[in-house]
């Protein structure tokens, strides 16, 4: 999968949850929940949407690898590379 496609998808899903936050204004390496002001329900919805979109399980055990925007993007890229 194309990296740009993944980034676009991630931005779209974040926009659905936090339309008032501009991606240009946030620290991509800081805590995603802080930067986008999202709570655990928002985060679960984000994980659910991304899981469906990319056909990934997004296990809770991997949540530590989804802390920042950059982490999450990297995680999605790595996981989608493994799926045929």
């Amino acid at each position: 999968m194309n990296d740009d496609t993944i980034q676009t998808a991630l931005q779209q899903e974040l926009y659905r949850i936090a339309p008032d936050i501009d991606i240009d204004d946030i620290d991509l390496t800081a805590d995603l929940r802080e930067e986008f002001d999202i709570d655990s329900m928002d985060f679960l919805n984000l994980v659910t949407a991304l899981g469906k979109r990319f056909g990934l399980e997004m296990p809770e055990a991997d949540y530590d690898r989804m802390r920042s925007f950059s982490d999450l993007l990297g995680y999605l890229q790595a996981q989608t590379d493994q799926t045929p």
């Binding site: 339309p19 008032d20 501009d22 929940r33 709570d39 659910t48 296990p59 809770e60």
Partner: protein, 431 residues
Amino acid sequence: MSQFLMPSLGADMEAGTLVEKLRNPGERVARGDIIAAVETQKGVIEIEVFEDGVLQEWLVDLETKVDVGTPLAMIQTDHDAATASSASDPPNLPEPQAPEPPNPEAPQPQDPQPNVVPPEEPERQIPEPEVPGPEIPIPEVPQPDIQPPEIGDIALQERRVGDKKRLRITPSARRLAAQRGIDLGTLSHQKDAPFYLQDIAALTQTADATQPSEMRAAIAAAMSRSKREIPHYYLSHRADLTNADEFVSATNATRAPETRLMLGALYLKAIARAVKKFPEFNGHFKDDNFDHSEASHVGLAISLRGGGLVAPAVFDADAQGLDDVMTAMRDLITRVRTGRFRARELTDATITVTSLGERGVDQLYGVIYPPQVAIVGIGTPALTAQVQGEACVPRLTATITLAADHRVSNGRRGGLFLQEIVKHLQNPETL
């Protein structure tokens, strides 16, 4: 014939704007049908009808803001049809407690024109939450045309959105527009581009600094009333959530994200269970009298982007399984965040829980939402050092607080109630 009124959707609502008419005149309506949507400071709320009958006519135009208690539509009820021949009094006439509907006097013969003078700006009174359902049967009298009153400086001429075309606008932008009193009908479409929050914010930048949002004012009014009328007392207790957290992790390990549990569902269920044993914390205090509720409808305080707060109910949380409570909670939060929920959800909560989630502080003391009599606050769980026997061990704990109404209960019972909640949380598999 009954009037379908702009309902009061809680202690902090004074007015609402009719934004959707979901039924046409002449159509049948059945009890429980959603026939309209109303925009309030809390978002778009779907309004149910409480009787079977036929929708006679709409009395208020779309995008018109009217006070609580104002008739929105007339409904010919089946009961009317059945008793049409007998001119008896309507049965069970509930005492309307809402601000009086601006029901003008019947036209006097000497009046050349039954020109109804709109009342002065309505007094900023807090509507009693014990407003009857949106429908109040009234005696059959000739109905003069009802002119909606003027509210503040918002003129109530017809205001339609575009050519009845719904504006493309994000929920947060719609909310902000409502908070700032921006007439959506005056916004121009730009090649079908949706309005975003920043567009609305830009329109209101000047007013921004001076005007607190309507929702903030509404919250302040309700909370002031609570603090004025309710003799609060406060208790705090530490809850060990290690078992609960491990239970949630173990459950979720094999689940897809859409069916995963959150600790919040356990809080709701534990409280709903605990009030069964401590009924004096579950119900409504009205007219110097506490009505205990058999059902546990746990209100969930949900913060909105942009600073708002609402506490709609998860119904019968005690009677549902944990997964069902989680589904209900998720559905409720999703709808509230997109600015759309149901009237009953706002008025029928019997106790409220407010939780700071994972990014908050150690403890919070809630302000009771009238006419309820208790609110449970759950601080952010954190690993703390706990003494077990001779050892100090790390455990996940949270501080759980209770603010309750001294007119109904006392600290001793409150303490036992908190312990009961904690007991349930420590045995999550039994929830």
